[in-house]
């Protein structure tokens, strides 16, 4: 009995051949994307000697902060809702949430309130937007794509009411110290990005809560069968995303010395960055680490284009190609698995 049972460990030859084909493909995609990342870096390093200097890297980090923080929020929503772009988790309100929060922060400061009041109000607004999404998606059961699209409009409306479509200038001790250089000559903005990344990586990749969030997104029935209250995980993902919007807003006000109009234009970059991050993971699922890498990839790409005097408008095209590549590659792997 034991003897024949032991054979169970060996996969059936045919099946393993196909499965490992999918495995190889996913390995190839990961290796390919890392190789692309490295070769782009190498090319710029040769073409523009300034590229690999410490101050330039610090600069890229700083420039990537806001995209990064928002993409983290998006990634968490995608993890909890599943990464199907149409029916899965997505938070389209994220960029406009940032715009609204930035307007709130700037107006509260303009009314003579201190940073603490402005900060807590901004976080409250971010959380409120997150809860609105959570109620719409979890409570009312609306498709996230539609629910967050509506909330996006609500945010955009409130922002216009608050700012009358103008830039509200803002300065405060907190804002100016964020743009200061901290240890190692890296600005605090960039340090906030890195700190948030570390917190989220630990929270999502190394805790039972994170694992369960993945289960909820990847196979809701299985998560339910494991006794998880799936609704609360999904709701929490939108709340975290709302907080990311608020944090991004404070950083944005600091970087731009005030609220700014047109934050909604960032939305597609955020969605694409979070999707792009999936190619850096073995399972081809969104991860915080993957998102951080893709944020940096795009940051370095823009920076490299600027240094080599290529129009930075090319970045849009390159991003588009990358996304097509990612979506094609992941669907290819999925087809191999099914």
């Amino acid at each position: 009995m034991d003897k024949s049972l032991a054979a169970l460990g060996e996969p059936i030859p045919n099946a393993s051949a196909r499965r490992s084909a999918a495995g190889w493909l996913s390995l190839l995609i990961r290796a390919g994307s890392l190789f692309a990342f490295a070769s782009v870096m190498l090319y710029f390093a040769i073409a523009a000697p300034f590229f690999l200097t410490f101050s330039n890297i610090a600069n890229v980090l700083e420039q990537s902060t806001i995209l990064g923080v928002l993409s983290f929020g998006m990634t968490i929503v995608m993890i909890g809702g599943g990464s199907n772009v149409i029916t899965g988790g997505i938070d389209l309100s994220l960029a406009n949430n940032l715009g609204l929060c930035a307007a709130v922060y700037a107006s509260v400061l303009r009314n003579g309130q201190p940073d603490t009041v402005a900060l807590s109000l901004t976080l409250a607004v971010g959380l409120a937007v997150g809860s609105l999404n959570a109620v719409a998606v979890v409570g009312l059961g609306i498709l996230p794509l539609i629910a967050t699209l509506s909330v996006m409009n609500i945010c955009a409306g409130f922002e216009l009411v608050l700012t009358q479509n103008t830039v509200i200038p803002a300065t405060s001790p907190l804002l100016s110290s964020l743009t200061d250089n901290g240890p190692l000559g890296i600005s605090y903005l960039a340090l906030v990005l890195l700190a948030l990344a570390v917190i989220l990586i630990v929270g999502v990749e190394f805790t039972p809560l994170g694992l369960r969030l993945y289960a909820v997104g990847a196979y809701r029935e299985a998560a339910r069968a494991a006794g998880l209250y799936v609704q609360s995980y999904i709701a929490a993902s939108y709340l975290i995303s709302g907080v990311c919007g608020a944090i991004g807003a404070v950083l944005s006000v600091s970087l731009l010395n005030g609220s700014s109009t047109g934050s909604g234009a960032m939305l597609l970059s955020v969605v694409l960055t979070a999707l792009l991050g999936a190619i850096f993971s073995r399972r081809l699922v969104p991860t915080i680490t993957g998102t951080l890498l893709s944020v940096l990839f795009i940051g370095f790409l823009i920076n490299g284009f600027q240094l080599t005097n290529v129009s930075s408008y090319w970045v849009n095209g390159v991003e588009g190609v990358l996304i097509l590549f990612v979506v094609a590659a992941t669907s290819l792997v999925r087809r191999g698995e099914s």
Binding site: S4, L5, L8, F206, L211, R212
Partner: protein, 499 residues
């Protein structure tokens, strides 16, 4: 479980069924499709609430259960579809919900998870699984092992298997049986639901047969021959549903030679001739679904030859099939058969718009006339030809799906469960229609799980078992007992050797 009654929207699924399982035994549960097996089990799992009856577990009586209470009582279920996250490692899937942590910290202890996964699986099954691999990379049998281990980790007292071998090939299934027997030795009570009577005979101490929502008997399968079980399972109400017809059988219209698809079917060969109705049937996992889907061009085959009207054809997609005047009526009519939001008229002429067009424009009057003709010929009950198909009953939707192909006069019809979810009246009309098509010289291949239906309308019946055509019957010279025995593997003499 005592005198369980359950109805769904007027249809009685269970009419007072009893199930008594003794602790420490393997108890089989068998019955035809629709006999009420899964309803009974879902009531035990707390997924459905019974209308009447009671459940007694270890001396304690309950009027109904909830999923939560069922779990607390130590009832665990291995469902047919595996509830495991495909992108998780074996360890993650095993411990999801009760993950090992690093001391008191809220951090995952991945190393311990991996080690414990390997240890637990080895302890229960004596096998090594690649615990670092993703669930999606494992074979179905290995996934099944993970699923069972997951249930065992919660120290169950009763384990319920629902068709555990449906997705497994023979050697995988054999290993599973050994594992199940080992679990009984360890003192577990096991309820085993299966279509395969030879599995029941091999594993179970007792078996309960369900028919039409009631238990018709509980016997020891080692003492009672399979043939007796089969006759207990089959309902014997012959009715006058099937119209008589005169068959004039002509030359072959569909020839299938040595068709293979890995993990689904192997070496399938048969022909369908003009004027002939050929039925095909088999249990879940016999490969019959996949075979018909591949004839539709919906899934690909690995090898083999197909010819239609003597000319070879390579079915890359349904459109190739349609181009060769094949008519396909899929089972899931809501998904593939009809467009619910389009009108009856649009649905009927969708596949044959060219017939009603001139210079790229539809000739609406001609189209309307043809549609009205078909509506009355099929007695489709619809207020108007422009009514959306959504508002029609299931039977009438199915008639529209058939009418779609009638309007193009196909020479070969492939029907997948043409009467599932259809009321009796519409069934009779569909049977009459199929008979008419054959009389007009079309060849018809119909897949159905309803054996009486096949016996009533077909000339020949093919029965598939574990990926092969086990046997071919002449409908006039067989009965449902014989067909069921063949489909369940009870008549092992007639079977080819399993892979």
């Amino acid at each position: 479980m005592h005198r369980i009654v359950k109805s769904f929207g007027g249809v009685r699924a269970l009419g007072g069924a009893d199930l008594n399982v003794q602790a420490g035994t393997i108890h089989g549960l068998v019955g035809q499709n629709g006999a009420g097996k899964s309803t009974l089990i879902k009531i035990l799992a707390g997924i459905h609430q019974p209308d009447a009856g009671s459940i007694e577990i270890a001396g304690q009586r309950y009027n109904h259960l909830t999923p939560h209470r069922a779990e607390k009582l130590g009832l665990h279920f291995i469902h047919q579809d595996r509830l495991l996250v495909p992108t998780f490692t074996v360890g993650e899937a095993l411990f999801l919900g009760s993950e090992p942590r690093v001391g008191p910290l809220p951090l995952l202890n991945r190393r311990r998870m991996k080690r414990q996964a390997a240890e637990t699986i080895h302890n229960y099954f004596g096998v090594e699984l690649p615990v670092g691999a993703l669930i999606g990379e494992l074979t179905p049998a290995q996934q099944q092992i993970v699923q069972i281990t997951r249930a065992l980790l919660r120290s169950p007292s009763v384990l319920v298997f629902d068709e555990p071998t449906a997705a497994l090939v023979k050697p995988e299934a054999d290993r599973l049986f050994e594992s199940i027997q080992r679990l009984r030795v360890q003192g577990l009570t096991i309820v085993y639901i299966s279509h395969y009577l030879n599995e029941i005979a091999m594993l179970c101490d007792r078996v309960t047969v369900l028919r039409n929502g009631v238990d018709v008997g509980t016997v020891n399968p080692r003492e009672v021959p399979s043939a007796t079980l089969v006759s207990m399972m089959v309902a014997r109400d012959i009715d006058e549903m099937f119209p008589k017809r005169v068959a004039t059988i002509g030359e072959p219209i569909l020839t299938v030679k040595k068709l293979c698809r890995r993990r689904a079917f192997t070496d399938v060969s048969f022909t369908v001739r003009r004027g002939e109705i050929v039925g095909i049937t088999g249990l879940v996992g016999s490969g019959v679904k996949e075979l018909v889907r591949s004839l539709f061009g919906l899934i690909h085959v690995d090898s083999g030859k197909l010819a239609i009207g003597g000319r070879p054809i390579h079915l890359r997609s349904p459109s190739v099939a349609v181009g060769r005047r094949l008519a396909l009526v899929p089972e899931n009519r809501r998904k593939h058969g009809v467009a619910l939001d389009l009108s009856v008229r649009e649905n009927v002429t969708l596949a044959s718009l060219q017939q009603y067009s001139r210079f790229g424009f539809l000739q609406l009057a001609r189209e309307a006339q043809a549609v009205d003709e078909l509506i009355s010929r099929l007695s489709v009950r619809t207020p108007h030809r422009n009514t959306a198909v959504r508002h029609l009953s299931g039977g009438n939707q199915q008639k529209v799906a058939l009418a779609k192909w009638l309007s193009r006069r196909s020479s070969l019809y492939i029907l997948d469960e043409p009467t599932v979810g259809v009321d009796i009246g519409s069934k009779v009309e569909i049977y009459r229609l199929i008979g008419e098509l054959a009389e007009q010289g079309a060849g018809i291949l119909t897949l159905s799980a309803d054996l009486l239906e096949l016996l009533g309308i077909c000339d020949r019946i093919l029965v598939m078992y574990r990926g092969h055509i086990a046997r071919e019957f002449s409908a006039a010279a067989t009965n449902s007992d014989e067909l069921l025995a063949c489909a369940t593997g009870a008549d092992l003499t007639a079977l080819p050797v399993n892979e």
